[in-house]
Symmetry: C2
Subunit: 260 residues, 2 copies
């Protein structure tokens, strides 16, 4: 095949295309009634009921329908498996290794989603769907373990230079709540005084006049983000003449979109 | 279809899969003999010789072969069209809009590559391939204009917090050369004294003992990166037990890899 004279946009019917989603939330419970353990990152998995990998757990996903955009396929998977609409949905990576599926060649375009812990608690799971802690996953089908590891790595990196913790928190939050998110993602304890200094000097958050009261703790100062929370890095919708895609539309429900 | 019980890894034969590549380099010449204009970002395009979009320019690319990994497909396109092996090759994004191709549904997984200007000068182009300045592109086939805009936006963002300029420069470089890269990518003039202060306080570069001599200018101090240049953000190869993919292997020829 002459790539230089037949560029792009042909198809090879031997390669299949799937869309899968890694869905993270922050959960304090361990599902077995333990009281108030440190919150950790959890994700929902789906038990396979046919070959290959019958009986193993896998990321929610499915073949890309001919009439579905990539983001629509990811959203639809989310809704079917967990009844959730994520605060944050972004394309993660396309995994296309030759032998990632034993029977046929399949490329999986993977999205990652973050949902608030309040939402995750209200979740109705589909049949054969369960939440697992990210640090205690069962054996996974395909290369889904690698995909989860990569998503966790992206989450850790993104936490450091963005508002991504927003997806786990409400509009306002205490510094303890923000520290808990960082501790869960980074999987290590952070010194409260150092964390406070770093966060306050980062310019990312502002004190509000409000206090969080109630609960076992004394009232704590509430903070908010200094700037509107930005959308995930996604291509600009439409054929804009501007060289700079819109990347900072204020929005609370963040959804990545394919270009129109 | 029950997504919750038939997860992942099926295929819909109606959706095709292509891999395309956006290749950026820094060029000072304008191709018409003008002497010493400011360097700008250029990219190679391929003229289509069949429908759809017969005669229009497009990104180099082609269908994903059943026996090719995604990165191999991107590399092979690069080599066929430009004889180039890029210093930097990274997956950019999967574009899957429903009507991006008029005839059939095609999802394009797009890579982006950076090549040094010295290499770009030595390039032998394939038939129907030409370099174009990024700020004066001809009409492009499909949604390739949007893809180029998105790649430029990613390049601008990445420049600010990484060593990505390395891909345009040698192991050592003068501050003027580094400023030229930033000016070309950001498309604006930067004040030399401010730029020097910012770069020197960033901790990203170190003075060497060497000077660049020759040419029309007086000898200039050479700089180098303080740390080994890191690989692009890609999933970890293999099923590592570590939660953190290898991301800082020192390497001069940077190539993204699918997990093995």
């Amino acid at each position: 095949m002459q790539r230089s004279t037949t560029p792009a946009e042909q198809t090879d019917p031997q390669v299949g295309l799937a869309v899968s989603t890694v869905i993270f939330t922050l959960r304090a419970d361990d599902g077995f009634g333990a009281t108030d353990p440190a919150p950790g990152i959890w994700l929902p998995l789906v038990r396979r009921i046919r070959e290959p990998y019958d009986g193993l757990w896998a990321l929610p996903g499915g073949p890309l329908g001919a009439a579905e955009s990539l983001a629509d396929a990811a959203s639809s998977t989310l809704e079917t498996t967990t009844s959730l609409r994520p605060r944050y949905l972004e394309q993660l990576y396309a995994f296309g290794d030759l032998d990632r599926s034993p029977a046929e060649r399949v490329v999986s375009i993977v999205y990652w989603a973050l949902v608030g812990s309040d939402e995750a608690k209200r979740t109705r799971l589909g049949q054969n769907v369960r939440w697992f802690p990210a640090d205690a996953l069962p054996p996974l089908a395909f290369d889904h373990r690698d995909i989860v590891e990569y998503a966790l790595w992206r989450l850790r990196n993104k936490l450091e230079y963005s508002h991504i913790a927003h997806a786990f928190l409400g509009e306002t939050f205490t510094l303890s709540e923000l520290r808990e998110v960082h501790e869960a993602v980074l999987q290590k304890q952070l010194d409260p005084a150092n964390f406070r200094r770093q966060v306050e000097s980062s310019g990312l958050v502002l004190q509000t006049d409000e206090l969080r009261t109630g609960g076992r703790h004394r009232p704590a100062r509430l903070y908010r983000w200094t700037q509107p929370v930005t959308r995930p890095e996604t291509p600009s919708p439409g054929r804009s003449t501007s060289r700079r895609p819109t990347t900072s539309t204020p929005t609370t429900r963040q959804q990545s979109e394919e270009p129109a």
